[in-house]
Symmetry: D2
Subunit: 284 residues, 4 copies
Amino acid sequence: MRPERFLTLNITCPDRPGIIAAVAGFIASHGGSIAEANYHQADGVFFMRQEIDAASLPFGLDELRVRFAPLAAEYHMDWGITDSAVPKRMVILVSKHDHCLNDLLYRWRAKDLKFDIPCVISNHLDLQGFVEWHGIPFHHVAMTADDKAEGFREVRRIFEAHRGDLMVLARFMQILPPELCEAYPNRIINIHHSFLPSFAGARPYHQAYERGVKLIGATCHYVTSELDAGPIIEQDVVRIDHSDHVEDVVRYGKEVERSVLARGVRYHIEDRVLVHGHKTVVFK
Amino acid sequence: MRPERFLTLNITCPDRPGIIAAVAGFIASHGGSIAEANYHQADGVFFMRQEIDAASLPFGLDELRVRFAPLAAEYHMDWGITDSAVPKRMVILVSKHDHCLNDLLYRWRAKDLKFDIPCVISNHLDLQGFVEWHGIPFHHVAMTADDKAEGFREVRRIFEAHRGDLMVLARFMQILPPELCEAYPNRIINIHHSFLPSFAGARPYHQAYERGVKLIGATCHYVTSELDAGPIIEQDVVRIDHSDHVEDVVRYGKEVERSVLARGVRYHIEDRVLVHGHKTVVFK
Amino acid sequence: MRPERFLTLNITCPDRPGIIAAVAGFIASHGGSIAEANYHQADGVFFMRQEIDAASLPFGLDELRVRFAPLAAEYHMDWGITDSAVPKRMVILVSKHDHCLNDLLYRWRAKDLKFDIPCVISNHLDLQGFVEWHGIPFHHVAMTADDKAEGFREVRRIFEAHRGDLMVLARFMQILPPELCEAYPNRIINIHHSFLPSFAGARPYHQAYERGVKLIGATCHYVTSELDAGPIIEQDVVRIDHSDHVEDVVRYGKEVERSVLARGVRYHIEDRVLVHGHKTVVFK
Amino acid sequence: MRPERFLTLNITCPDRPGIIAAVAGFIASHGGSIAEANYHQADGVFFMRQEIDAASLPFGLDELRVRFAPLAAEYHMDWGITDSAVPKRMVILVSKHDHCLNDLLYRWRAKDLKFDIPCVISNHLDLQGFVEWHGIPFHHVAMTADDKAEGFREVRRIFEAHRGDLMVLARFMQILPPELCEAYPNRIINIHHSFLPSFAGARPYHQAYERGVKLIGATCHYVTSELDAGPIIEQDVVRIDHSDHVEDVVRYGKEVERSVLARGVRYHIEDRVLVHGHKTVVFK
């Protein structure tokens, strides 16, 4: 049984013996019950994720943070604690392709995954009706060649106004400017419609069709200022063959895009992703 | 980097707060460095696996066992420690189908996985030459309807004489008697050529073909006295379609059998499998 | 390039030399261009599917049928011709689980697959709003223990009134009575939430969890009067492990259910499924 | 039931109506029974593969060729007919990695696929003993930096002397010179240890590990004078995660390499691959 409410403690720090003992000892000293625990080390760096049953602790999130801080300082930890009772606020950006949006809205509606959608932003009006049917605000932001910079400033204002935790590019067909990427490191998730690093850039399915590959894929990654090169969170592929027209390839691709994005978003929302340089540790 | 030599500590015990702290604290108190750690809890039971860098400890396996025993007793642990420098001794039983045997012998030859094969036992002579080319002893044990009981006593004598740790039924087409199954709990591994619980019993591929399923599979499990019902270690499937003749189904099946058996054997040999009733916890 | 409009000719007949020549010769004699062709034979039975470019024929569907009939009679064919310009009418039955319904409605909305949904029938009211947002009629039919027979007569009346071609049980948690199953052979599609024949009957995910299998699956099949035993159209599986709670298993299952149902429905709608006894030939 | 012996007729020609009728009519006019038939068209080109039951024809392969030639000329066909009773002669080139060689030799030994291995060529001596245990000649050809050109001339002489039909590079760690590639178009098969076009060139697993991809793969392709760019026959992938060391990635890779190569070789040997520019049509 998963506890009803849990606090997730994530840590990245220089590796040395005794870290698990110190952290587990700290939790145990307060009677904390660990529901799930994961560890990893690579290149002299130590990664740790722990779900602590909130009901097992005699105090709340704020005091836990205060009490944990000295230990964190001692081990030079980059750390954070989140509370499963506080859903993350996910702002979705979309253009016209709606398969990923439909999937995310369904998961929100079905409570398949716990998160809030404070608003959806689009550079087109096509999806306004469907979004608003859910009772979710829809913001149209024009992205014409002339005023893209202003468009992206507007995106940022909306994101801030809605206190977004996470920006998801659910097939948003615009390249984010570097200053936006850098403002929210590891907080912007994109779904790229190819198995990166193959077929970066435009029209990847057409590239794949032309090359004659036997599998096509999708890649969910954090957005950095370098196009299609951010840390990869999740990938998957699907088999195609010679009988598939390019439209079939696109259709298969949509299936894999939406499931890869959904998994990537889940890992992020459940605080299962720790970034390590340009790679990720994903504690599934 | 994985340490050159490591000790693997596996624990099953009643769940209660503080176990991780106690065990990690014990290891840290001796300067031990944990290379890989996994935890799981279910139904009030706690499962733990830790790889400790042997070079980080000031003493060897025997003293580690002595020092750990009091803690183990306090927490009512079912536990064990193995040494990566001591390869497990795997006795292989086979009849005439040799695809799994070929795969295991290749892995042994290629040092793809570290284990010893003290001997191969078969109720047929077909594979003697190939086994002996490897410099591995081959024992022929007749299994005629009249003297099966004696045949299985002979199997047991050979297994004991070779100080076997593990018996692998690599498509051994004979049903082991209950007393043999019970003599080596969680030490006999079978590969069943279906996706259990579908198509238990004889000729599973023919059953699958007749039923018209779209995927066929294989199941690697520990052998218990109940036929095809032991704890499942690993399973996988492969897609078939109407154009596949039953011989094609058998052929696809062989591919999945050998890879599922190889993975199951690997998990066992690396002490990654903890049995929980009639299920398994596999720390991959 | 797939032709804009095509006629699909499906044939099942006793196997004998010359069938392909006869049928292809007939089509060629009228200048017909074959866009896609598939053949299969098994157990003395011959199966054939051909997509003919409608624009390449000098006449329409009705005359094609008339002209083809003598050849069909000569070869004792069970045959049919459909027109890609006439979408099939798919009536969806659903209870409370809406993941499959959401998926099918999205595909309809996105024109990902060409079909009509004349109405949705449910024994609950939960999904009325979402269905009606699409402009699709929603019929509530009570299924209380006392009046199930009447409920199913009502289902049948609605299906007939809407001139349904196909009935899809998108997680409809009621067992259809034999007379309904037999009224529409190979026209009722169900999604069963297990990898049949494993875990037929109720609560398959809980059964799978208890057994400790390492993969769970879903099965799309035609409904016959024998529960969960009709011809299988499509199946797939997804990997689980010991760390998955039964709720996780259910969640993974929903993903595979909806994709397996979507594929099965696609094959049926595109006339790619030919039933052969209790098995299917699926020309992908 | 697959016929005991069959003739496989493969055709590539400009697309126009009536080809299937003409070819099927020709076969039927001689009483030929078609066991398996596949068709494909793309970009104005028509592809066809037919397995004809040899026992159903009143004459043999040579007369079939003579009789078919006029039809082939009329339709401007690029065509060929092979006889299942004549196994292809596959010359294997290998360096030190033996997982693919072991797999191919097993399939040959087990008659899992019908082909001859007239010899194995290697630039190292490591695998001589294992090859010769099979009774297969082993040729050592040195490939030092100074005399590579001579080495490849020797490879070609050996291939010709053994009347090779097919050259398989089973992890042969040398780049073939253009003149060798061009001498045997669509007759040299390579297994590349990445999911092309990702990670072409050297050390692809290390590249993949550095990039942090979540799946790695292998690609079986025909060799052309452009490195790693020939027509792809088959690909597959396997999942990895952050806990996998680069050695684990290599190990997983070996599994997928050998199965992808085995499938690609099977398709080629069964005459299922038709090359279309730099892509392939694979009639599975």
